[in-house]
Amino acid sequence: MTNAMRTSAGAVTVERYQGVRADGRLRRLWNANAPGYLFLLPWLIGFFGLTLGPALISLYLSFTDFDMLRAPGWVGAANYVRIATADPKFASAMSVTLTYVVLSVPFKLTFALLVALALNRGLRGLPIYRAIFYLPSLLGGSVAIAVLWRQLFASDGLVNAALSHFGIVGPSWISHPSYSIYTLVALSVWQFGSPMIIFLAGLRQIPQDMYEAASLDGASKFRQFYKITLPLLTPVIFFNAVVQTIDAFKAFTPAFIISGGTGGPINSTLFYTLYLYQEAFGNFRMGYASALAWILVVIIAIFTAFSFLTSRYWVHYDD
């Protein structure tokens, strides 16, 4: 801004500019960076007002019995004690969520990598394919897709209609406690688009001459993949694994829509976040739900830290 002013308004502004310099480095720095901060302002307001602020308030509320209607009352660590000792639903929600994380993340990443490998060959119309494969990820978190998924996996849905051609009478996948979690895993795997795009970018980073050298030495395609592609891709795999694990822990919408908010049948789709939501808004226990949320933060932090600690043994950085 100062530059523009100086050129357009001439000497007057130059004078002012020098005056500012006399006031000190800080003022000058501010003036030079003010537009930057101005553009950052919406993000800063969002970060402090909608992320950091509420997070700190929820930390406070987790030590209270806040019920949303009355003022919160301090209860000390009672909520945390209850979670640890007297809440069977916490255990069941945690086990559903861990099952989901353990199943969906590896399947999703494998699938994403396979598609990325297929797309990595110089395909005609590649951008179109990329867009098409990415589309489910954009839509995937949405209510409409979860509703669609419900239709697909209902007892008289498309999946069972297809199975019936092979003489198989399928159950109602989404409403049987033994299968319902797998339909949600399948929905998650289907949203492989964003790790796929990142894999694709990672594959493009691998120098072609390595493959040329390897094939001159007579290495098979599989061996090339195993000895070149995979090791060089580990930083990207690592990144995807961490991001997808965090996402899986936070999954909410699909379970909410597919079970109609109940987490049923028999709590088989009671994701952690869904339980948290029920406690907060269904049972008026915002304080308790805040404690649940902070437990989740800690668990995610532990998982992430664990990933970083083990990463040095299997992630290879090209240096």
Binding site: M68, L69, S155, G261, T262, G264, P265, G282, N283
Partner: protein, 428 residues
């Protein structure tokens, strides 16, 4: 999610806001703008908005904005609005939640407005009692209804079976259901929905046994053997193929459009009488209402006339007087009554009941006749459910599913239900 403000209201609200901001007079804005919130479907919203328009023509200078949501989304939103000190002035309240909201100071006590602004003298006294919590009056009942069995008469006719009557017992009903399933006139069709996880059904069963769900002092009012026998009865129905399979029942989400009856899986389902109009609108076959079955030919008192919905006024409202005027208009103005019909239940005011009775169509008459014809099956209104009753309902459903999917025996299920509800009530 299912949140909609009709375009007209949106425009009206927007226009009002614009004109008010032009005036720059915020005090004026708060005195003359009423906000309403309710749960329900589009037809209910149309009726409600029409009444608001009528109220506006008679009270110039009042702007009314209304919003409505589906049941499941409604409560989180209302709780958030109340917590954010942004509650609407007039709140549709349910019998299940009125204790929670009243005890936490979210609702304005209205007894001081009677009879000056709230003229409820021709209301059934029991229904006024139903709007009271701890001696204060917090909710004006918008209509009475009762739990009911919805029956697809065409499916019964196809199977050559007589529809249940006021005298039918559960045992006979089980046989009827098995026969319909066996008749196999429709593909994948069963006699009735699995009601083992339905709280109104279970409550009705308990009341016929002289028990109840909860006592007046918020304790559990039934024993493990009551619940075990209940689960056992349903296990036998399932075994006989009288009711739908558990994976079909699990798709039911407490809405009319997911009911096994509506989706063409069963000839009977369980609902409340005010929902009849909604069911009939979604099912082509002619439907009828019947009571819940008797446990023995001479048992009685299972049903009751339940205030289906209340209008409550927010304790945070800046225009309580005007909100009370609106509520009174809603339940006592003949033109409003004609618009509202029996969509929210049978009007509580005798005068309005007479107004509505003259204008009802055939479908609308069914719930009116049903509620007035319950006879000895009708008993007194139970006390409002205590804090934690919402969780109790979820536990009943979960345990009933465990029995249905073979993870629990009926005997263990009964014990577990009593244990868990006792634990929930102790927690408060």
């Amino acid at each position: 999610m299912s949140f909609r403000v009709s375009r007209r209201n949106f425009m009206a609200g927007g226009a009002t806001l614009l004109s008010l901001s032009a005036l720059g007079n915020s005090a004026f804005a708060q005195e003359n703008r009423l906000r309403l919130i309710w749960w329900g479907s589009q037809p209910r919203a149309d009726r409600t908005n029409k009444v608001s328009d009528l109220f506006k023509t008679k009270n110039s200078g009042v702007a009314i904005t209304g919003e409505f949501l589906g049941w499941a989304d409604y409560w989180p939103r209302l709780a958030t609005q109340v917590a954010g000190r942004n509650a609407p002035d007039v709140i549709q309240m349910d019998y299940r939640y009125i204790v929670e909201y009243a005890r936490r100071g979210a609702l304005a006590p209205l007894e001081s407005y009677m009879p000056s602004k709230l003229q409820l003298d021709d209301f059934d006294p029991a229904q006024i009692e139903g709007g009271k919590v701890d001696g204060h009056f917090y909710g004006v009942s918008l209509g009475a209804n009762s739990a009911a069995t919805v029956i697809n008469t065409v499916a019964f006719k196809e199977a050559g079976i007589d529809v249940p009557t006021n005298k039918t017992t559960w045992e006979e009903f089980g046989k009827i259901g098995a026969e319909i399933t066996k008749a196999g006139k429709r593909k994948g069709y069963f006699g009735f929905a699995d009601g083992s996880g339905g709280e109104p059904l279970f409550e009705n069963y308990l009341r016929q046994r002289g028990k109840a769900l909860y006592t007046t002092d918020s304790k559990i009012a039934f024993g493990a053997e009551d619940a075990s026998e209940w689960f056992d009865m349903w296990a036998k129905f399932r075994e006989a193929g009288a009711c739908v399979t558990p994976d079909i029942q699990a798709l039911y989400k407490d809405t009319i459009d997911t009911s096994p009856l509506t989706v063409g899986k069963a000839a009977c389902d369980y609902a409340h009488s005010n929902q009849f109009v909604g069911y009939q609108a979604m099912v082509k076959d002619k439907l009828m209402l019947s009571n819940y079955m008797r446990i023995k030919p001479d048992s009685k008192g299972g049903h009751y006339r339940k205030p289906s919905m209340f209008f409550s006024v927010s304790a945070q409202s800046k225009a309580i007087d005007q909100a009370v005027d609106y509520v009174n208009f809603f339940v006592k103005n003949p033109d409003a009554a004609k618009i509202l019909d029996v969509e929210r239940g049978i009007p509580e005011s005798k005068a309005m009941r007479d107004v509505v009775a003259g204008t009802l169509d055939e479908t609308g008459k069914v719930p009116l006749e049903y509620v007035s014809g319950l006879g000895d099956l009708a008993g007194p209104l139970p006390p409002p459910p205590p804090t934690g009753a919402g969780e109790g309902q979820v536990v009943l459903r979960t345990i009933s599913e465990q029995v249905a999917f073979g993870q629990l025996t009926p005997a263990d299920a009964g014990k577990q239900l009593v244990d868990e509800i006792t634990r929930i009530l102790a927690r408060g």
